[in-house]
């Protein structure tokens, strides 16, 4: 592969704005990172990532938005917070991963890990539908989305037999209220994205009073 040259001056103010936005939304100072690699070293999943968690922090610092948001890393992160716990500069790396993932979804970046995204969608659809997670329905809808029909069939059948999976979802009385939470959140997000597109400032709750 030809060595790609990243033109850092071409990143310009948009890059700086991206770094600032990630920091504000995650409530952490991304420029505190001094690239020691302790996060990557402790990450149980870094072996499967295209960029190390440390490298994601670097991409954010340099404002290389596309590289960061197209990475598999942000989807593979299992949110175990080992990185955050051990970071000598108190950077909340796991929260940065959350932020980048939400940003990628919001801004329509293609998911590098389609299955993981599909799983989260299936899970949340189940919650939005009945107020609680419903494993069987969720797994089925995930399988429909990913065409992974055969995988895990053994375990699924065992769990059904052991009574670990229910045939019908639990629906709570407040299902409508939970549905409403999803709707409101989506509405707020839609407005914020629109505001951002028009270059209006978006107030990030992460910037205030967050320790």
């Amino acid at each position: 592969m030809e060595m790609e040259v990243l033109n850092l001056t071409a990143v310009g103010p948009a890059g700086a704005a991206f770094a600032a936005q990630v920091g504000a939304e995650a409530g952490t100072d991304v420029f505190s990172c001094y690239q020691c690699g302790k996060c990557s070293a402790g990450c149980p999943i870094s072996y499967a990532m295209d960029y190390q968690p440390r490298q994601i922090m670097r991409l954010v610092q340099l404002g290389l938005k596309d590289e960061a948001l197209k990475s598999s890393t942000i989807w593979l992160c299992a949110s175990c917070a080992t990185c955050t716990t051990r970071c000598p500069r108190e950077v909340e790396i796991a929260t940065v991963m959350d932020t980048l993932r939400a940003m990628a979804r919001r801004e329509g970046y293609p998911y590098k890990e389609r299955n993981i995204a599909a799983f989260h969608r299936a899970f949340l659809n189940a919650v939005a539908g009945g107020g609680r997670a419903y494993e069987l329905g969720m797994i089925l809808s995930y399988k429909m989305a990913t065409f992974e029909l055969i995988k895990d069939i053994d375990l699924g059948l065992t769990w059904l037999r052991q009574g670990k999976l229910k045939f019908f979802p639990e629906r709570i009385h407040g299902a409508a209220a939970v549905r409403d939470i999803f709707d409101k959140v989506r509405e707020i997000e839609r407005k914020e994205v629109a505001a951002q597109r028009e270059g209006r400032p978006v107030a990030h709750e992460g910037t205030e009073g967050h320790s």
Binding site: L76, V127, Q162, K164, A177, E205, G209
Partner: protein, 289 residues
């Protein structure tokens, strides 16, 4: 001692044995559990992987209900506990955010209650001394590896009730029950729970590393405090053995199952039949059950 009880979705599906033994243990130790009426899912990893506000709003609806009950929340599931603790942590000194969350859930969330994991309640608030006094059948000869996973003790700024690198509360409980604990390296490593369906290959590797370390430390079994961890370490153990061409046969208990057993409860009521790796053989061999 009374808590607002938040079982979480798993305890109503894949982890009913955790739910049942939680109730048994709490009844024995005089911890009253008042289930939060009409609770909803905390959103788990999927919510905070998707939308920050959603990840706070879902637990906040449950916390607001607990506020109405005037009780602190106890959650047996590590993931549920972590989401609730995170919500409390982030909104604690941030009135703007708390107000936004309240608007989204259509109810006033004030941030007045605490959230605790069941392990914290039993190991710290009740304590090993009280537990020991209730033991009728000590778990003599049983060597367990206490597994905390990631969400119980991390990040320390949010959890903070036990050491993030070498927690000891489950060990203290197990010792009180008469069991032996092993000092091992992977007690807070992540099992990859949220990827169990979508990237089973990764989960298999992480689970393999954990099982390997437990076995190497000489454990007969693993004891945990999280339905995700249990589902992976127990449910995926067969897959790991096949993938890595190895044999572990390590039963994975909920700590409440072992507490119930030591408290003299009937073994057949503790849901051992629902485990993928049947622990009864091991318990028989140690003459515990």
């Amino acid at each position: 001692m009374k808590y607002a009880y938040y079982p979480g979705c798993s305890l109503h599906s894949t982890a009913t044995e955790y739910e049942e033994t939680t109730r048994t243990v709490c009844a024995t130790l005089g911890v009253e559990l008042a289930e939060i009426p009409d609770w909803n899912c905390c959103g788990a990893t999927s919510a905070h992987a998707t939308n920050h506000l959603l990840s706070l709003a879902l637990p906040a609806r449950d916390l607001a209900k607990a506020e109405q009950m005037g009780l602190d929340v106890v959650a047996p599931c590590a993931a549920c506990y972590n989401r609730m603790a995170q919500t409390i942590h982030e909104t604690k000194d941030n009135e703007v955010l708390r107000h936004k969350v309240s608007q989204v859930i259509g109810a006033e969330y004030q941030g007045t209650v605490k959230a605790k994991s069941l392990l914290e309640v039993l190991a710290a608030d009740i304590g090993p001394k009280v537990v020991e006094a209730k033991v009728q059948k000590p778990l003599k000869g049983l060597k367990v590896a206490a597994y905390y996973g990631c969400l119980l003790v991390r990040p320390p700024a949010v959890t903070g009730w036990d050491d993030a690198e070498n927690p000891q509360s489950m060990e203290r409980l197990m010792t009180a029950l008469g069991a032996e604990t092993v000092d091992w390296s992977h007690k807070t490593e992540c099992c990859g729970a949220s990827l169990t369906i979508s990237r089973t290959d990764i989960v298999a590797k992480l689970t393999h590393d954990i099982l390997d370390a437990a076995k190497a430390a000489g454990a007969d079994a693993i004891v945990c405090a999280c339905p995700m961890c249990q589902a992976n370490l127990d449910g995926r153990q067969g897959l790991v053995e096949k993938t890595y061409k190895t044999q572990y046969h390590l039963p994975v208990f909920y700590f409440t199952q072992l507490m119930s057993l030591a408290f003299g409860k009937e073994p057949y009521k503790l849901g051992f039949a629902r485990h993928s790796i049947d622990p009864r053989e091991l318990l028989h061999s140690k003459e515990i059950a």
